[in-house]
């Protein structure tokens, strides 16, 4: 891990329903290159909204998100170019059901990175091999289990060779027996030095893999620190309260 800051968030606010619902009420944090940040918190705490603001799937109401020195909330910025560098994995996988696995993985590289079909497929096959799904390359998403789908979703994002990976509760929609296989892939990714921001309820994963844990509640960052600090010595009563309930 270096001290090189890849994403810098300043004063981030997000309101829904014309301000009636304030999901984020001023969030500041920096994500460093190679860092694995796990965001935890009760549901409705704004953690998913925070993650979705990082690649502007939600447009912030106020504040800035600076990625590699560029303020991406500036409307003049080509957001698509920046999203290419930020892979995202969703709770519900969101694979494209009308395409084979291979097509799911090569569509964006072919269209955006101007890779040849062969080049993109070679890369995709290599990634599939890594997650042990090379034999399913020509299957359709509906023929896969949930765990397999999520592993595909991860490698689909990796095909774009992103600088950062964003995970939005990647195991919440999975049957318990499939959680492990997905977390294993994520661990492997972390070990390889990928910068990751993970919103999850998997406290074991957070404790084991995170460099930094952020606890959010009611649209604020309440507390952040190493897993050791957050899980073993939480300072804030709300953090202590939350951890008591989930651990």
């Amino acid at each position: 891990m270096t001290t090189d800051i890849i994403i810098s968030v300043k004063g981030l606010e997000k309101h829904f329903d014309e301000g009636k619902l304030k999901a984020l009420r001023g969030v500041d944090t920096d994500i460093r290159r190679g860092e694995v940040v796990v965001v935890i918190g009760p549901s409705g705490s704004g953690k998913s909204t925070f993650l979705r603001c990082l690649n502007l799937l939600e447009e912030p109401t106020a504040g800035t998100v600076t990625v590699e020195g560029v303020n991406i909330t500036d409307p003049k910025v080509n957001i698509n170019k920046h999203r290419e560098k930020m892979g995202m994995v969703f709770q519900h996988f969101n694979l494209f059901p009308h395409m084979t696995i291979l097509k799911n993985m090569t569509l964006a590289p072919c269209k955006l990175l101007k890779k040849s079909k062969q080049e993109a497929e070679e890369k995709a096959m290599a990634l599939l091999k890594r997650v042990g799904l090379a034999d399913r390359a020509n299957a359709y998403p509906s023929q896969l289990s949930g765990g397999q789908k999520q592993r595909i979703a991860i490698v689909r994002a990796l095909c774009m060779e992103p600088q950062v990976m964003l995970f939005d509760e990647p195991t919440s929609a999975l049957d318990p027996e499939m959680v492990g296989e997905v977390l294993d892939v994520m661990k492997q990714l972390a070990e390889e030095g990928m910068t990751m921001v993970v919103v999850t309820h998997e406290m074991g994963f957070a404790r084991e893999v995170a460099d930094r844990v952020i606890f959010m509640d009611e649209g604020h960052i309440i507390e952040e620190g190493t897993p050791e600090e957050i899980f073993n010595h939480p300072q804030q009563p709300r953090t202590q309260d939350f951890l008591k309930k989930v651990l």
Binding site: N55, L57, D74, P75, K76, N80, K81, H82, R83, E84, M86, G87, M88, F90, H92, N94, L95, F96, P97, H98, L107, A108, K111, L112, Y140, P141, S142, R156, A157, M160, L166
Partner: protein, 267 residues
């Protein structure tokens, strides 16, 4: 002289025709002979069928393309589009897009709210009032513009039935809005819209019969033509009707096949 078997049969019953003493089978043959065989009239039906197919095919294409554009303009995110950023150009852009969306809504309401016959007459005698233009083109334009309004609603329903996560997945990979629409949303929308679309195509094919009002000799007109010659009560209508049925059944079969193929690929 060589005369065909059909002519021989006709000559055999002709005295009975003149004397008005036909039995049931002779009557049937008389109807078939006069309305189908004589003067190669079956060719008239086939020519009419050809025109109906030609007009329908191009009208469906016009309807699909224009209808899809209208459907996209009617999507909530376009209807309520806000200027992205400050400044003159983004503001004007958003206003133009919202105006187009309003226009699309108006267009759909007008086209669905008025009879096709009136639209055909207005387009032929009004818009192309003093232009010498092929009636097939008038027919394609009139039916295509009308169909587009229905297609728009079908496609819009199809697009709305695709989960929001699909758009987000596409956008998060860096695909732009248009590419996400083309590669990810529309193919899935098309699948769920297919049955309704099949209905629309079938309606369109049959509705082209209205073009007989502007003297386009399509299938219904071909029947009318022969009937005006023979004064037969309904035989030409049956022949035309059977040909429509044949076309519609073929189309239904083809779309059913397509649907099964799409179903096999996912879900």
């Amino acid at each position: 002289m060589n005369i065909s078997i059909f002519e021989q049969w006709w000559l055999a019953i002709e005295p009975a025709v003149q004397a008005n003493t036909l039995n049931f089978w002779q009557f049937i043959y008389k109807e078939i002979y006069l309305n189908v065989i004589k003067d190669d009239r079956w060719l008239q039906y086939l020519k009419g069928l050809g025109v109906t197919l030609e007009v329908s095919f191009y009208a469906i294409l016009v309807g699909l393309v224009l209808g899809t554009v209208l459907a996209i303009l009617r999507l909530p995110q376009i209807q309520h589009m806000n200027a992205r950023g400050k400044g003159f150009l983004p503001a004007v852009g958003a206003v133009v897009v919202r105006a187009l969306s309003k226009f699309a809504g108006l267009y759909i309401n007008i086209m669905r709210g008025t009879p096709l016959l009136l639209q055909v007459l207005i387009i032929n005698f009004g818009i192309f009032g003093s232009v010498r233009i092929d009636k097939v083109i008038v027919g394609v334009i009139a039916c295509g513009l009308n169909s587009a309004a229905y297609v728009a609603e079908i496609v819009r329903g199809g697009i709305m039935s695709v989960e929001k996560g699909q758009t987000e997945a596409g956008r998060s990979l860096g695909l732009g809005g248009i590419r996400t629409m083309i590669y990810i949303i529309l193919p899935q929308a098309a699948k769920s819209a297919l049955p309704a679309m099949c209905n629309e195509f079938i309606s369109l094919i049959k509705e082209t019969s209205i073009l007989s009002y502007i003297a386009l000799t399509e299938l219904t007109k071909a029947g009318d033509y022969i009937r005006s010659r023979t004064f037969s009560a309904f035989t030409p209508y049956i022949v035309s009707g059977l040909l429509y049925l044949l076309v519609v059944l073929t189309l239904t079969w083809l779309i059913g096949k397509l649907e099964r193929r799409l179903r096999n690929s996912d879900h």
